[in-house]
């Protein structure tokens, strides 16, 4: 009897231990932050904005593919035989909706947009913070950065894809494509907000979007919409900048001279913060981790991978005496490594023969012999030279514009290049000068393809390259989207895809 009693005690004890409280099953994830408790301090608000910037560094954009895709389409650059198969189609316009570079570009931009939307969706929470925690001016400026970045990404997208699904708030439901005029309207709206709320360059940290950058991009977007008068107004608000001095054009392409007097907006890279997982999938469009360098130097460099080389057409476009040539290209005889070494003809040898030149812009050879550690050099995506040439274009194109005023803007840029030939004050001559000047000033800066598309001259400029008018102006919506978004079907794709 006693025995049974003991057994029962043991048994009931055991059963109590096991038949536990189901509250134990309620677990919180110890590895991540929770959205419910976020946006409580300035550093939290700022970090939500930083996340949207991080999308710019992905391999889908400035980390890698953007340079290739744009320079190859413009025929600024051509591929050497080792150029990878997914990049080659940009040279002959044979890409289709399955191309991963197009997919990552699309994804990276939309991820940047969704992160900007995460900030804007929490506008009420941010504004509810006491001013002692965050001043109203700062609240506005952080929201302004989110608006700026959203506009930046939509602008990248609308140029490549035309009509777009528009998201002004976070969701997981895919939208149908809206007309590109609606996209431009949203971009304008965002940039207007940004220009009114961002801090001026003088008080904002270098690397963040500032008021002048917002005006410069607002002007550029308006120019793309051919709203020349409005664009000019915006450009005129970009003050306090000037060109790098004559003889110092290369300051625009080195790491040590970043955020100089000509630089309005840059995409930041800094390898000392980490070069992360070079090939991991998250780097294509997610921008996770410390991947703070760009592959540009390694891939373009003639002492490194030399995947692309400057096209003969581009090299031949430079006028005799154009000082930019020597700052844009290396040729046999160019000095490098702080003047201690000289490029030899053999440094331009590829398996398809000896090339005339290699890229110097954005290369690290001025201080390093090789690019293997990848590059920290920021991309100066909005230079004052661009603003000057766009102002010239506005003047030349707007009703009642002044060719003389336009020529004055162009002359500023040409003077710096050491060129003195005068431009005839006719609309045609000025336009021809702008076409030429933008080609050589921004060679290898992913500008020319956008320019010849908006000018409508791509079909003649790219004749014989595989460019098909009515199709090649736009990229296809990637298959990844048409297979996952029930509101965009393969048949909704751009013409010809």
């Amino acid at each position: 009897m006693k025995k049974i009693k003991y057994i029962l005690i043991v048994l009931s004890g055991v059963l109590t231990i096991t038949s536990c409280d189901t509250g134990e099953l309620e677990l919180t994830n110890p590895n991540t932050l929770s959205p419910e408790t976020f946006f409580k301090s300035e550093s939290q608000v700022q970090s939500s904005v930083n996340a949207s910037y991080a999308g710019l560094q992905t391999r889908g954009l400035y980390g890698r593919n953007f340079s290739f895709a744009m320079d190859l389409m413009a025929h600024d650059a051509l591929g050497n035989p080792q150029l990878e198969g997914n990049k080659k189609p940009f040279q002959d316009f044979s890409f289709n909706g399955g191309n991963d570079i197009i997919q990552y570009y699309w994804e990276a931009c939309y991820i940047g947009i969704s992160r900007a939307n995460f900030v804007l969706d929490n506008e009420a929470k941010i504004n509810a913070l006491p001013n002692s925690v965050l001043s109203q001016e700062k609240k506005n400026k952080y929201l302004g950065e989110a608006h700026f970045l959203r506009a930046y990404y939509y602008f990248l997208l609308v140029k490549r894809f035309g009509d777009l699904p528009i998201y002004k708030t976070g969701t997981i439901i895919g939208n149908a494509r809206s007309p590109k005029t609606d996209v431009y309207a949203l971009i304008e709206e965002d940039l207007v907000f940004a220009s009114q709320n961002l801090l001026p360059r003088a008080t904002e940290a270098a690397g963040r979007a500032n008021k002048e950058a917002a005006y410069a991009y607002l002007g550029k977007v308006l120019l793309y919409e051919k709203k020349y008068d409005e664009a000019l107004v915006a450009f005129n608000s970009v003050t306090g900048f000037s060109l790098e001095d004559k003889g110092s054009f290369y300051n625009n392409f080195m790491a040590e001279t970043e955020h100089g007097k000509e630089s309005i907006f840059e995409i930041e890279f800094d390898e000392k913060n980490g070069t992360g997982d070079q090939w991991g999938a998250v780097g294509d469009s997610q921008g996770t981790g410390f991947e703070e360098s760009t592959l540009r130097g390694q891939e373009y460099g003639n002492l490194s991978w030399y995947n692309v080389y400057p096209s003969d057409d581009l090299l031949d476009s430079y006028e005799a005496g154009d000082e930019r040539f020597g700052d844009t290209f290396y040729v046999p005889g160019s000095s490098y490594l702080k003047g201690t070494k000289v490029m030899l003809a053999s440094n331009f040898t590829t398996s398809a023969g000896i090339r005339r030149a290699g890229w110097k812009k954005y290369q690290n050879y001025y201080i390093r012999e090789d690019e293997a550690t990848r590059s920290s050099i920021n991309f100066k995506v909005m230079r004052y030279a661009d603003v000057l040439l766009m102002k010239a274009e506005c003047e030349n194109q707007r009703a009642g514009g002044s060719q003389t005023a336009a020529i004055a803007f162009i002359k500023e840029v040409r003077d710096r290049a050491g060129l003195t030939t005068a431009i005839a004050p006719t609309k045609e001559a000025v336009f021809t000068a702008i076409i030429h000047e933008r080609k050589v000033e921004f060679a290898g800066e992913q500008s020319r393809f956008d320019d010849i598309i908006r000018w409508g001259i791509a079909n003649t400029e790219l004749q014989g390259t595989g460019f098909t008018a009515g199709k090649s102006e736009l990229w296809p919506i990637p298959n990844r989207e048409t297979s996952s978004n029930p509101n965009i079907k393969p048949s909704d794709n751009n013409p010809g895809y």
Partner: protein, 1002 residues
């Protein structure tokens, strides 16, 4: 008086004669297995009495008080019992043979069951089957032996991919492993020599007791226990070599130079620089690896205790250079009877070191060895690190695979402890209480060190890198169970089980990396350009389990079970799940009308039930932020935080309804055995990371875990066995065949299709698609129809004017005829699942010789061979298959060699980047998995020292018949996920091996 005496004498005589007739005697003999090996601990029982004995160490027995009319049953675990009428004999030697049908006692969830009473679908593999083939991991023992089970091995030290009855889920489809009641993720820490039996539980009536963990089936492993009798020491070893003999046929230097010239690169001078040599890079990465295994075990038992101890050392060099696996494993299993209390423990500890296959630049070793130009030497003493690689001048940036494999090292050190401690108390006759605490504990340290190197202008690293990932995890399971077993009126057998189980799992990882540019001498982490991260996970489960087994005289069987389960992986709304099963059986052979029939077993059984699946990552139901986006502002890092992977608060269990009908039979005294099974399972609310529209910009690859699909899986399984004996010759054959067909029957509202699958190669589209009415992740892409021969053919399809597609490109069929090739033209171009899988196992023994031959295969599946992209893609200059010599040559817009099988080199993007038929191949194969011949020494010369010595030689994978062009058709899946089914990304090929072995029993 005389008369009286006479009667008395007669009576006495009668009595004495009666006594004489009933005179009990002592019989003795030896019980052996078919190879003559004595069986200690076999039991001998006089039918209907308590009179019994067991054999001693030498298999000898002696049994007193036996009458000539008595029937004696000789039995031994795992062997067919024999019943012999004594008659006049006083020496009875018995040879017990193994049943082809299987063991008589079958291990099931939370206990064992007599095979005759089993109502579910269970395949078993015995220790003898396991011993027949030298294997390095326990999972391999299942291959081809259990109908409906597929096992695909990977690199040494990796856990094989095992699936039961095809795919029913889209995530992790690995079954649940239960080792002596301990839930485990795989069997990697377990020495195959320590396994007593493996039961594969295939239908819900056998798996439902494991509830939310049983979705993919359950593999129950029982380790060998000590046996009553004197101590027995055994030693076994094998040594052998393994190698991969198949190679892709790639261009030699001369062919490569011509091919490069055609593609616009003249490399003649470059090749001459290296002396016009010809390096076969594939030969450089494959090797003959040495395999060795040593195993020592000791088992003994007394009346009240048993124990078994074992130790093993196993080392396996891979068939690819610098890959391999090494393991030390130890096991101690003990039981102790203390009156009505039985306590015991089963504990296994293993230490392992794995050298995995290394990769670089996002490409596998095999991919590099295909693509690397053949004119390079392997080594160059002038280069930092000592290897030769390409520079820009070579126009080909494949990496030197020998450098990738050999420079520095990657080592994964693992420790695993799997064990339990239990106590079992008989509270009342038939009523038992059992309490068990189980532990599954592991640590792993994955350390990679790569010194600085420079092979050429492409591949260089100016610093050494050290990376380490440390993982640690533990799962503690606390089970308390009550069983009650009784027989009412001699015929109603009832067994009731109740269990409360609680699972607490924890795991954590710590990853760190650093760079060092000063020296290559230090391979440890340091605070220099470092990275650091850690994560911590907790998982909890609670389950309440009940089961009732009833049978009427073993003739009519009924089993009912239920489990109520809760998992922390789901939100409060959907945390609990209920699972049940019902099974019926009818032992027809026991019916009176079957008396004297040829059938010794004829059993019909049917079952239905449900199981669940919680195999998703932890915390998926709660929204999170990711704090790992970084951007430099002013040279300093500006940390970024944004929304994490899209959460889903409505996540619920995947559930599966199983239906199974089976027929077991054995004829002619168990000579011929077999079983048929038919199953028809329906999985609902299958969890899958559904790709969200890319444009919503979701984190983590843009997916959300959703309960997205319903899938039907049905199939047949047949196993047939035959065994016979003629004098000294015994033989048996077991054949099995399984089919499994899956079909998506429903998708979540609003979802019409999902594209998935791993990215096969940078630039190559995904192939795998989910759609109602199709198999799970069938191959979806363009159909092709030869090659465009001239411009007229191109224009006939696209109309004039376009320049993307040119003569020499692949004719992709424009299915909708809109003159544009886009995703609307894609269709089903392949099915990754076989029509059937099969295995044939032949065993024979003659005197001291034994022989085993084992063939397995699959039929009717397609493989998506991603290696074709490297070998025949021709999108840029890399070394390639000799097939490229037969590519279309286009001169003035006309293909000059119309018989060409490949498109033009560097042709339209769509030739190689699109999902199309050129990558799909027939994956059927038949493979001689194992062939072995053994010889057992016997005779008095040895008896003094050994009780048994067996030598054997065996060969694995020696012959494969297949049309597949890849290195190995035994693909399975590229990774653990269903959406990689049938995709060959350059999987570690199954090597051929030859092994010499020795088993000694002292």
């Amino acid at each position: 008086m005389m008369l009286k005496l006479k009667y008395a004498i007669i009576t006495l005589l009668i009595i004495s004669s009666h006594n004489m007739m009933a005179q009990s005697k002592t019989i003795q003999g030896v019980i052996t297995d078919p190879s003559g090996f004595p069986l200690p601990g076999a039991s001998i029982n006089v039918e209907g009495t308590q009179n019994s004995a067991s054999t001693d160490f030498d298999g000898k027995y002696s049994l007193k008080g036996v009458n000539p009319t008595d029937k004696i049953t000789y039995s031994y675990v795992g062997l067919i019992s024999q019943t012999i009428t004594v008659g006049s004999r006083s020496i009875i030697d018995v040879t017990l043979v193994q049943s082809t049908q299987n063991l008589n006692e079958v291990v099931i969830a939370y206990g064992t069951q007599k095979r005759a009473k089993v109502t579910g679908a269970i395949s078993t593999v015995s220790s003898k089957d396991i011993a027949a083939v030298p294997i390095t991991n326990a999972e391999s023992a299942l291959q081809g032996r259990a109908a409906g089970v597929t096992v695909v091995n990977g690199a040494p030290g990796s856990s094989p991919a095992v699936s039961i009855r095809g795919l029913a889920t889209m995530g992790n489809s690995a079954p649940l492993y239960v080792i002596d009641g301990v839930l485990a993720g795989n069997l990697s820490g377990l020495s195959p020599n320590d396994i007593d039996s493996i039961s594969v539980l295939k239908d819900a009536s056998t798996t439902a007791l494991y509830g939310s963990k049983a979705f993919n089936g359950v593999i129950v492993v029982t380790t060998k226990k000590g046996k009553k009798g004197p101590g027995q020491l055994t030693f076994s070893t094998y040594v052998g070599g393994q190698t991969v003999t198949k190679r892709y046929d790639v261009l030699n230097t001369q062919q490569y130079l011509q091919y490069a010239k055609d593609l616009g690169s003249d490399l003649t001078a470059r090749a001459a620089e290296f002396g016009n040599i010809n390096t076969n890079w594939q030969d450089q990465i494959f090797q003959t690896g040495l395999m060795q295994d040593y195993n020592l075990s000791f088992s003994n038992g007394t009346e009240t205790s048993t124990s078994r101890y074992s130790a093993e050392y196993m080392k396996q060099e891979g068939a690819i250079v610098n890959t391999g696996f090494e393991r030390y494993s130890f096991r101690a299993n003990n039981t102790q009877d203390i009156g009505k209390l039985k306590v015991g423990s089963n504990i296994g500890v293993s230490f392992s070191t794995t050298n995995p296959e290394r990769s670089a630049g996002g490409r596998t070793l095999l991919e590099h060895s295909i693509k690397m130009a053949p004119y390079f030497p392997i080594y160059n003493a002038n280069n930092l690190g000592g290897y030769q690689g390409p520079s820009a001048i070579d126009g080909n940036d494949a990496e030197n695979p020998v450098r990738v494999a050999n420079l520095g090292y990657q080592k994964i050190n693992g420790l695993s402890i799997i064990g339990n401690i239990f106590a079992e108390l008989e509270i009342y006759k038939g009523l038992k209480f059992r309490s068990q605490v189980s532990l599954d504990y592991y640590t792993s340290k994955d350390h990679t060190f790569v010194p600085s190197f420079q092979d050429g202008s492409y591949h260089k690293q100016a610093f050494s890198t050290t990376n380490e990932t440390n993982g640690q995890g533990q799962t503690i399971v606390f089970d308390n169970s009550l069983t009650y077993k009784t027989t009412i009126a001699g015929k109603h057998n009832i067994e009731v089980l109740g269990v409360i189980t609680k699972i607490d799992g924890k795991s954590q990882t710590l990853t760190a990396g650093s760079r060092y540019s000063i020296s290559n001498e230090i391979d440890q982490l340091r605070y220099n350009e470092g990275s650091l991260g850690s994560a911590n996970f907790v998982e909890k489960n609670i389950g309440y389990i009940a089961r009732i087994n009833y049978d009427y005289n073993e003739k009519y069987l009924l089993a009912v079970s239920g489990r109520r389960d809760a998992s922390s992986r789901f939100g409060a709304n959907n945390r609990w799940g209920n699972f049940y099963s019902v099974a019926l059986g009818w032992n027809i052979a026991k019916e009176s009308f079957m008396e004297n029939s040829i059938f010794s077993t004829l059993k019909l059984r049917a079952s239905t039930g449900t199981t669940g699946n919680d195999r998703i990552d932890n915390y998926q139901y709660s929204a999170t932020l990711i704090a790992n986006y970084n951007y430099p502002i002013g040279g300093a890092n500006a940390p970024g935080v944004s929304l994490g992977v899209a959460s889903n608060p409505d996540l619920k269990w995947e559930s599966k309804l199983d239906r199974n009908i089976g027929l077991d039979f054995s004829l002619f005294d168990e000579k011929f055995t077999g079983s048929f099974e038919y199953f028809n399972n329906k999985s609902s609310d299958i969890l899958f990371a559904v790709p969200l529209p890319a444009s919503v910009g979701s984190a983590g690859g843009g997916t959300q875990i959703q309960n997205i699909a319903d899938v039907k899986v049905s199939g047949f399984e047949v196993s047939l066995g035959y065994n016979d004996r003629k004098g000294d010759f015994t033989w048996s054959a077991i054949a099995n065949l399984g089919t499994s067909k899956n079909e998506v029957t429903g998708l979540a509202p609003g979802v019409t299709s999902v594209l998935g699958g791993p990215s096969a190669r940078a630039g190559l589209e995904n192939f795998s698609r989910l759609e109602v009415g199709q198999p799970l992740f069938y191959f979806y892409g363009y159909q092709t129809n030869g090659i465009y021969q001239n411009q007229a053919e191109v224009d006939a399809v696209f109309g004039p004017g376009q320049t993307t597609i040119k003569p020499g490109d692949i004719k992709i069929i424009d299915r909708d005829g809109n003159k544009i090739i886009n995703s609307d033209d894609k269709t089903n171009i392949g099915n990754p699942y076989p029509d059937f899988t099969y295995g044939l196992n032949l065993n024979a023994a003659y005197k001291n010789f034994d022989f085993n031959c084992f063939i397995s295969g699959v039929q009717g599946n397609d493989i998506y061979n991603a290696n074709t992209f490297d070998l025949e893609g021709m999108n840029r200059l890399f070394n390639a298959s000799t097939a490229v010599l037969d590519r279309a040559i286009v001169v003035n817009g006309v293909v000059t060699n119309p018989s060409a099988t490949l498109p033009r080199a560097q042709g339209a993007d769509i030739n190689w980047s699109s999902a199309n038929q050129r990558y799909i191949e027939d994956g059927s194969y038949t493979r001689l998995k194992n062939i072995a011949l053994g010889y057992t020494f016997s005779g008095d010369a040895f008896k003094a020292y050994f009780s048994k010595i067996r030598f054997y030689v065996s060969g694995q994978n020696l012959i494969t018949v297949t049309k597949y062009d890849g290195l190995d058709p035994e693909i399975g899946r590229a990774d653990a996920n269903a959406n990689s089914a049938g995709i060959d990304l350059g999987r570690y090929p199954q090597p051929k091996s030859v092994i010499f072995g020795l088993d000694v029993t002292f």
